[in-house]
């Protein structure tokens, strides 16, 4: 199970150079997988039916760069009795990945129940997911991962080295995009998608996120729109679609208004209308007769009357702007012109 998950996550992360294998301490040679586990993984679209178990052997240990154990007991067993000569290579999975968060020991399913298998799957996914992310970022690699040649194969992720994987480190724009994508994905899904399907869907959009990050996104960015059902799958709330659509419309309206205002101020000569500019706009001087000025003003209004422009709506708008400007100019100097000439 661990191997399949690791392989799948590594494939998503473009880590083609890495080979994963699994072996059991007490495992018999070439035994088929547990049928319950296999059928559970089938639902997660992982096929392990063809896998066969194998016991831990010195040859296998020799060919590996690192050996990850699932529990502290197994680590001790491996170090002390089974393959003591390879002790430096043996690491407990939880210790290897993220020391800042405690994950419980990954226990093999005590009974064959689906609940136990699901628990195992979840903890493996968390542990292996973090391992893959750690391997991706050479800066964050623990000391045990010393093979320089291997390091170079991994892409350096955008995360700063050593930082804890968290949705908080995602670029806000990207984060918004992923949140929107998750919402759409939930909306499109006929059945509530499992967390793996969500991880894969986000991965297919080119964003490598783990379970924790996706859950953080769901809780923070889509707060109020999504909830978890009894099985722990994320689903949309009843009125989420409508509310989100309304919100998007409101945003688009605000954005449009802002854009238009900006465009207007760019295209129009938005120099503040001063009296001298107003005289210039109307093509008159302070000495012009009031009657003459009024005639000019009316002629200009007629010239830029929006109804005279039929070819292009934009032309009409431009004419409207011109007419507005002429009116403003006239309003500004009208009083001055009549007063100045009256006295």
């Amino acid at each position: 199970m661990a191997r399949s998950i690791a392989e799948r996550l590594a494939r998503k992360a473009d880590m083609d150079g890495t080979v994963f294998d699994s072996a059991g301490v007490k495992a018999p040679k070439a035994a088929p997988p547990n049928i319950e586990a296999a059928s559970f993984l089938r639902m997660e679209k992982i096929d392990i039916l063809r896998h066969r178990s194998k016991p831990v052997s010195p040859q296998l240990a020799d060919s590996s760069d690192i050996i990850l154990a699932m529990t502290a007991d197994i680590t001790a067993q491996l170090r002390e009795s089974i393959i003591p000569e390879y002790a430096p290579k043996i690491v407990l999975l939880n210790e290897a990945v993220d020391l800042s968060t405690k994950i419980m020991d990954i226990l093999p399913p005590s009974d064959g129940s689906i609940a136990a298998i699901r628990r195992l799957y979840a903890s493996l996914l968390a542990g292996v997911g973090r391992l893959v992310r750690t391997l991706e970022d050479p800066g964050a690699c623990p000391e045990w991962f010393g093979a320089k040649s291997m390091e170079r194969k991994f892409k350096v992720g955008s995360r700063s080295s050593g930082a804890r994987a968290s949705a908080a480190t995602i670029d806000p724009e990207k984060r918004q995009f992923i949140a929107n994508f998750l919402f759409d994905f939930l909306e499109r899904s006929f059945e509530p998608p499992t967390i793996t399907q969500l991880i894969e869907a986000v991965g297919s959009m080119g964003h490598r996120l783990g379970q924790l990050e996706i859950e953080e996104l769901m809780r923070q960015d889509l707060h109020g729109f999504v909830r978890q059902d009894r099985q722990g799958c994320w689903v949309l709330r009843n009125d989420a679609t409508k509310r989100r659509r309304d919100e998007a419309r409101e945003k688009a309206r605000a954005r449009n208004a802002a854009n238009q205002a900006k465009a207007r101020s760019e295209t129009e000569d938005e120099e503040k209308l001063t009296p001298s500019l107003a005289y210039k706009t109307l093509g008159i001087t302070k000495e012009t007769e009031v009657e003459e000025a009024r005639r000019k003003y009316r002629a200009l209004l007629k010239r830029y009357h929006p109804d005279k422009f039929h070819v292009d709506n934009e032309f009409r708008e431009m004419a409207e702007r011109k007419a507005r400007r002429i009116n403003e100019a006239w309003d500004l100097i009208k009083g001055e012109l009549t007063q100045g000439q009256a006295t």
Binding site: N259, Q260, K262, A263, E266, T267, D269, E270, E271, R303, Y304, K308, F309, H310, V311, D312, N313, E314, F315, M318, A319, K322
Partner: protein
Amino acid sequence: MTKPIALIFGYGSLLAPHSINRTIPGFLESNTPLVPVTLAGWKRTWTAVYPNEGELLHADNTAPDGIAYMNVEPDSSDEALGIVFTVDEEGIAALDKREKLYDRVDVTTVATFLTNQIPPHWKSLPILTYSATSPWKPDGAIATVGIRRDYRELIREAGILLDREWKMPGRFERDYECVNERFANFRDVIPPVDARYKK
């Protein structure tokens, strides 16, 4: 629109945003400003004459041999008024396709902006325009040339908005020779008949 790489000088149908939008979809939404510019050493003429392939039919059911469109031609004593707008690489490709009968020329050095409010990054962009250097020559000795009414209106309305009353040719021209006679005083608009329109 992605990063603008050039300014296009429009003097004919490219004066109208809706016409640009037809070639560069999304132009209207992008609110790209149109800024008036003059080109020193160029003049606006109606010399871009192309064969009429059924687009233009007069009211009396006669079709002219050619349709005249606006053109700009080098003339050291004149200046041409038009507008400029920014385009990206895709936009240039689309315009090249549309104006395939015209040649793209660089007029950066002779252009003068008629407003002071120019975005600073525009100063580093080249200014390009489309000029027809080898117009169509009709087969017959005398060709009839017409102007599309919507095109003519477009030019006229744009002229008003640019504070310039462009002298417009009349309703349409019937016979090129006669056109020239009738609009003999419109030398800035219609050039004298040129031997190149005759065989």
